[in-house]
């Protein structure tokens, strides 16, 4: 889902000295702010996290009071926040409301499946978007450029859950070529079985993000080709291929890399939709299960973990940009 593209523009900063240290400090502050926001939003809504029990006739008022006290919800909000935060930092993420197991354990056991799905989708999306974007950028206005523009505009407008349903209907229900959900079959756990299972969910993620990336790289490559250094290179008689791939593409790829890194962080949460439609046993699937059961400790941990991923990857992308772009590197030195 779009909307975070603006994160991709590297922020200029006049902090010269140890940029990495200052970036790290900034990230920590940001994380602190995020934790306060998440906590305030979840706990300060009318009724707080116990709202659902209030409507349940089987839960007596005194039980709610007991629960509130045992969860520390009767203490002042600031005190609650500080104790939650200090626990969170120490890795004590509480226990799942639904099965009583530590939240950290529940989250960690889901990470491999999510990484597998995201890794495959990322690779497919990059392999598809880079050549298509470059090809169309060097032939602007051609029929392929216009077709790709239309197709990617359509793809970024797709509701992910509906696209997932349609693929399921087409390839699993009607054609019967692929399994409709899960990561493996019960009996067959071979390689081809796993490929069959990952194909549809990976297609959804790769299509949505690959389309956005194609559009981004197409536009930054188009801009790069209009830069004066490209004109200079051409005027000096450099081979057109050299101009395109060494001068223009290199310039265009830098911001592209940062966008991809930021998107990678956002896919972790964006996979919520895809994973739950395809019953993929990853973090997104866990989030959906926790949502249905109103398992707040899991939901809070998921929000914090995915925000932290976004912040860490955005700091990394920023540092990478500084390290790789000669213009920024020289300016900072």
């Amino acid at each position: 889902m779009g909307g975070h593209k603006s994160l991709g523009t590297p922020q200029t900063s006049d902090l010269r000295l140890p940029t990495l240290v200052s970036r790290l400090l900034q990230s920590l502050l940001l994380l602190l702010l995020v934790s306060a926001l998440v906590f305030a939003l979840i706990y300060a809504v009318p009724g707080g996290p116990l709202t659902m029990y209030l409507e349940n006739p089987n839960v007596r008022p005194e039980d709610i009071e007991r629960l509130r006290a045992s969860l520390g919800l009767d203490r002042p909000l600031l005190e609650q926040y500080l104790s939650w935060l200090s626990g969170f930092v120490r890795g004590d993420w509480g226990f799942s409301y639904t099965d009583g197991r530590p939240v950290a354990v529940r989250l960690i056991e889901r990470i491999p499946a999510t990484l597998e799905l995201i890794g495959v989708s990322l690779i497919v999306a990059i392999l598809a978007s880079v050549p298509v974007a470059v090809w169309t950028a060097v032939r602007p206005g051609g029929w392929l450029d216009r077709t790709v523009n239309g197709a990617t505009l359509a793809a970024i407008s797709l509701p992910a859950f509906w696209f997932a349903l349609v693929l399921q209907l087409l390839f699993a229900v009607w054609l019967g070529w692929l399994p409709s959900s899960g990561r493996t079959s019960v009996l067959d756990r071979g390689f081809s079985d796993r490929i069959g299972h990952i194909l549809l969910p990976a297609t959804v993620l790769a299509a949505l993000h690959g389309a956005a990336w194609t559009r981004y790289l197409r536009s930054s490559m188009g801009q790069a080709l209009r830069q004066r250094f490209v004109l200079v290179a051409r005027a000096k008689g450099a081979h057109e291929r050299l101009v395109r791939y060494k001068h223009a593409l290199r310039t265009a790829l830098l911001p592209f890399v940062t966008v991809v890194m930021l998107d990678a962080a956002i896919i972790v949460s964006g996979a919520v939709v895809t994973e739950s439609v395809f019953a993929w046993p990853g973090l997104g699937g866990l989030f959906y299960e926790a949502l249905v059961r109103r398992d707040y400790t899991v939901l809070m941990a998921f929000l914090m973990l995915s925000s932290a991923t976004v912040i860490v990857l955005s700091a990394l992308a920023d540092s990478l940009y500084r390290a790789l772009d000669p213009r920024v590197r020289v300016a900072a030195a």
Binding site: G2, V273, S276, F287, S307
Partner: protein, 261 residues
């Protein structure tokens, strides 16, 4: 600003909005009229889009759902853009500590994944329509704030703004009269994208049962039940989703045209 290339998108949106507004007159059935005799009917002459498990006409529900989905999209975007313009203009024009504070808040809000956050809030609040608009709008101002701030920063030091400042115009007048009108094209693009995003967010939330609550129909919550019966009644999953898709394509291509100017 030639009108021909964006005509299809505008025309399509016009038709959609008209149909939504005229839903009581154009819908063949009442959206919640239960007809147990014709449950789960496939699309046909009488029910163009088929019927659902209660025998309700899917076309009529799609038309009434359009009102909810479009309204949530437009109103949440209006809220998001107002907030974003206010925050971005203040940050960009006043600068200094206020700018730093507002932009850190923007960074923080952008770091929290929007969809999961809204899903959790939707689960807690079981939102009514106004609350849903509030939630989606309040989670969507950051992009507009950044765009507005960038525009304001580039406009604020131009000659005509400095002239008005030198002439002693109050800050409010400088912003309203000189800065914002020049930032309008960029804000219009951000607003268009916000409408598309709002419609997608509403439909996704409703699909997961934490958005528009039944019995009201929205394109998203019509899909809520559809997945489990998809094998036997695929039309329940196809048509509402197709409406979302077509609408968002039209809005995004309008945004693209606006961005190109």
């Amino acid at each position: 600003m030639s009108s021909s290339p964006r005509a299809p998108a505008v025309l399509l949106l016009g038709v959609l909005i008209t149909l939504a507004l005229l839903a009581p007159f154009v819908a063949p059935f009442a959206p919640d009229a239960v007809d147990l005799a014709s449950r789960r009917a496939a699309p046909g002459f009488l029910h163009w889009f088929g019927t659902d498990a209660l025998g309700r006409d899917v076309l009529s529900r799609v038309l009434y759902g359009a009102r909810v989905s479009l309204a949530v999209g437009v109103l949440s975007a209006a809220l998001a853009v107002s907030l974003g313009v206010a925050i971005g203009a203040l940050a960009g024009y006043v600068g200094r500590a206020l700018d730093a504070a507002l932009m850190r808040l923007t960074d923080a809000m952008l770091s929290i994944p929007r969809l999961p956050l809204l899903m959790v809030l939707g689960a807690i609040l079981q939102p009514t329509l106004p609350v849903l608009v509030l939630l989606v709008g309040a989670a969507g101002w950051m992009e507009t704030a950044r765009v507005t701030r960038a525009e304001v920063l580039s406009i604020r030091n131009r000659g005509f703004v400095e002239a008005s400042r030198a002439a002693g115009a109050p800050v409010k007048r400088q912003i309203w009269r000189h800065v914002l009108p020049n930032a309008l094209p960029a804000i219009a693009v951000a607003a268009t994208l916000a409408v598309g995003r709002g419609i997608l967010l509403e439909s996704t939330l409703s699909f997961f049962g934490v958005g528009v609550q039944p019995p009201a129909a929205s394109w998203g919550n019509m899909l809520y039940q559809a997945q489990s019966t998809m094998t036997t009644e695929p039309w329940l999953a196809l048509f509402p989703g197709l409406m979302i898709f077509v609408t968002v394509v039209a809005i995004n291509s309008l945004g693209e045209r606006l961005a190109r100017g």
